[in-house]
């Protein structure tokens, strides 16, 4: 039951079965009832004819003529029989056709009443019988009860019903098979686009195709478009990994070369310090690469809602321990219930690095403010995170260099380490910006990270 078409086919077959079954049952009942009614009417006609033919005989009994008008009463075993019984249920007369047969007496109807019944001959042939009990008035004025009974074998009727059923089943089976075949052909046509997508994805996996063709019915166009987005972002991601790895490998080569040169000449002045310097550099490079944003926001198909107050509280608690001796005074101002749409790790990295730097450089005060930013058509609000301190601030030159040229490791702002470079990368991956100013109130550095709201346009 894995495939859509087999599911559809099975459900349609079940539906057809139920529908046809009901139809067959209704038709069959209608046919059988109509047939039986017709038989009863005929029997009634024969009975009336029998009554008309009955005459009192010479004695004081009723008699019927030797030959009746209906020829089927005259041929033996014709299937149509008649008899006349007296008050004691003795057979007074029996039609020629019933010669050698014993028609069961059956139930005697009330005087003046008709009674239809299903009975059977000794050999099991089913009969439909009609009995009529009458009070016959003789010319001499005496009354005598008699029962007239006509019976017809149901053999032919049953054969007729069976034939009808055979035909009915035959036709319906033919119709059902035709419908299932037609439906499965229709299904093949309908599901063709799905198979096409599957084939195209296989081609993409094999590398013989770049993206899905887009020539799909309306219902599937969205799926195809999202699939293409996913493929694109996956490709961009792997490009970025390749680029990062490439970058990492190349940036590690220089310190490695320097270390080799130092090792070859261990007599050089300040050997261990210079060696250590290279290790430091390699470590910084690795740390920077490891702390870079986990992904760009476009790749994050599912964004978490990060509870800003809670995460900042954890950070501040931790930093209070780390800066236990310095005891910076934290002023935290967060819009209540504020959420950041993104990765928790990225948020902690943003706020953690900024707070850590602020604690490091502040004289005594560190201030953090987070407010949401809202734009038109936003489905999730953005965030403006500002961290300021009362330290010496960041020299304009260093700030400009960091913001304009883009960060190179060997140029990282002294003292602010790789933290700001990481913050800048993360902000950029969310489509945001980093700005470095001087705090009006506290006099030290004021660093603002603005993450734009997520709009339906850039999430699609």
């Amino acid at each position: 039951m894995q495939s859509l078409s087999s599911r559809l086919l099975v459900s349609v077959s079940v539906l057809l079965l139920v529908f046809f079954g009901a139809t067959i049952a209704v038709l069959d009942t209608a046919f059988t009832e109509a047939g039986e009614q017709a038989r009863r009417d005929i029997l009634d006609g024969h009975l009336v004819a029998l009554l008309a033919a009955a005459e009192p005989d010479d004695g004081d009994e009723l008699a019927l003529p030797e030959r009746l008008r209906e020829p089927r009463f005259q041929s033996i075993g014709s299937g149509l029989y008649a008899e006349l019984r007296d008050a004691a249920d003795m057979v007074m007369w029996r039609s020629y056709s019933a010669l050698g047969l014993e028609i069961p007496a059956g139930v005697r109807p009330e005087l003046g009443n008709h009674l239809f019944a299903r009975e059977s001959l000794e050999d099991g042939t089913p009969l439909l019988t009609l009995s009529l009990a009458v009070q016959w008035e003789f010319p001499d004025g005496s009354l005598k009860p008699y029962v007239f009974k006509v019976a017809e074998s149901l053999d032919s009727f049953n054969a007729q019903v069976a034939g009808f059923r055979r035909q009915l089943f035959g036709w319906f089976a033919a119709v059902a098979v035709t419908m299932v075949i037609a439906f499965s052909m229709l299904l093949r046509g309908l599901l063709k686009p799905l198979r096409q997508i599957e084939a195209e994805i296989t081609e993409i996996e094999e590398g013989s195709r770049v993206s899905l063709s887009g020539a799909f019915p309306t219902e599937l166009r969205g799926v195809a478009r999202n699939m293409n987005l996913l493929i694109d972002s996956e490709r961009a991601r792997s490009d970025r990994y390749r680029y990062t790895l490439d970058n990492l490998a190349h940036s590690l080569k220089t310190p490695l070369a320097a270390m080799r040169a130092l090792l070859n000449d261990q007599q050089v002045e300040g050997f261990s310090g210079r060696f250590d310097e290279q290790i430091e550099r390699m470590d910084e490079i690795v740390r920077y690469q490891l702390r870079k944003p986990s992904a760009s926001v476009a790749d994050n198909l599912v964004l978490q809602a990060v509870k800003v107050e809670q995460e900042v509280a954890r950070l501040v608690d931790g930093l209070r321990k780390v800066y236990h001796d310095k005891r910076p005074e934290f002023e935290v101002n967060i819009e209540p219930g504020m959420q950041f749409r993104g990765d928790t790790g990225d948020f902690l990295e943003l706020a953690g690095n900024l707070l850590d730097n602020a604690c490091k450089w502040s004289a005594s005060r560190v201030r953090l403010a987070v407010v949401p930013s809202v734009g038109a058509r936003a489905i999730a609000s953005g965030m403006v995170l500002t961290v300021s301190d009362d330290g010496p601030g960041i020299p304009q030159e260093a700030a400009d260099a960091l913001l304009q040229r883009g960060m190179r490791l060997d140029e990282s702002t002294p003292g602010h380490g790789i933290g700001l470079a990481v913050v800048k990368d993360i902000a950029r991956s969310y489509g945001g910006r980093l700005s470095i100013n001087r705090s009006q109130e506290l006099g030290g550095a004021e660093i603002t990270v603005s993450i734009p709201p997520i709009t339906s346009a850039n999430s699609a």
């Binding site: 250590d276 290790i279 470590d283 740390r287 490891l290 702390r291 995460e311 954890r314 950070l315 608690d317 931790g318 321990k321 780390v322 236990h324 001796d325 928790t344 790790g345 902690l348 990295e349 706020a351 953690g352 690095n353 850590d356």
Partner: protein, 228 residues
């Protein structure tokens, strides 16, 4: 002071143990999380250095368990993971500070000194009580501004007593904390060292920095000039 180092990398663990030992600490070492937790709960520990990425049981779990069992000694975490997520997890679990790998030994030793001082309630690395000043970072003892020459063992004793100024420290505790585990123990040695310390710090017997409480132990008796 008795330190516990839980680190699975043998080179790093041994180097830390050796260098901390050289700085005058008695060091217990554990190579995996389960062993580490046992030491952390069952041994007298003044400070634990715990790597976060350990086999058998994570450093975070050790910290949580130790805190749950009421252990209050400072914990310094070592982490190879530099992301704030990991640091915050460690600090929230109950650690007091972190050092990111790779590190210089001096960094670890400075954090250890700061944490120990802090746990004794001292706010700066220069602890002053009356005329006595102990500089933890330079491992130097001064009385009335004059540096006093001390052997490393004498220094360990005065450091232990002074960090816990005001508390009564039993002879057994001093032996316990100041010797390595398999060192020969002899409580008479402590008496001898205390005697020498008194002579060096207070030749005229005027300031009486170390008080002897019969049958109970010793106490650094001078009032702190500043406390954290």
């Amino acid at each position: 002071m008795r330190l516990l180092v839980i680190e699975d990398d043998a080179t790093l663990r041994e180097s830390l143990t050796r260098k901390l030992g050289e700085s005058g600490f008695a060091v217990e070492q554990a190579a995996d999380g389960k062993e580490g937790l046992y030491f952390a709960l069952e041994y007298p520990v003044d400070l634990a250095i715990i790597d976060l990425g350990l086999p058998e049981m994570s450093g975070l779990d050790i910290i949580r368990e130790a805190r749950k069992q009421g252990k209050t000694y400072p914990i310094l975490i070592l982490t190879a993971r530099d992301r704030w997520e990991d640091k915050v997890d460690g600090l929230s679990a109950g650690a007091d500070d972190y050092v990111v790998k790779p590190f210089h030994f001096e960094e670890v030793s400075a954090r250890v000194a700061a944490l120990l001082r802090r746990s004794g309630g001292w706010a700066s690395s220069e602890m002053t009580a009356g005329p006595v000043t102990l500089d933890l970072s330079r491992q130097e003892l001064r009385v009335d501004g004059e540096p006093i020459e001390l052997t490393s063992f004498e220094y360990k004793i005065i450091e232990y007593l002074m960090v816990r100024a005001g508390q009564v420290i039993s002879k057994a505790e001093l032996t316990d904390r100041l010797y390595d585990q398999d060192f020969e123990r002899d409580s008479n040695v402590i008496e001898v060292f205390i005697g020498r310390l008194r002579k060096k710090m207070d030749p005229e017997n005027a300031i009486k920095p170390i008080e002897t409480l019969r049958g109970r132990g010793y106490r650094f008796a001078l009032e702190r000039n500043q406390s954290g």
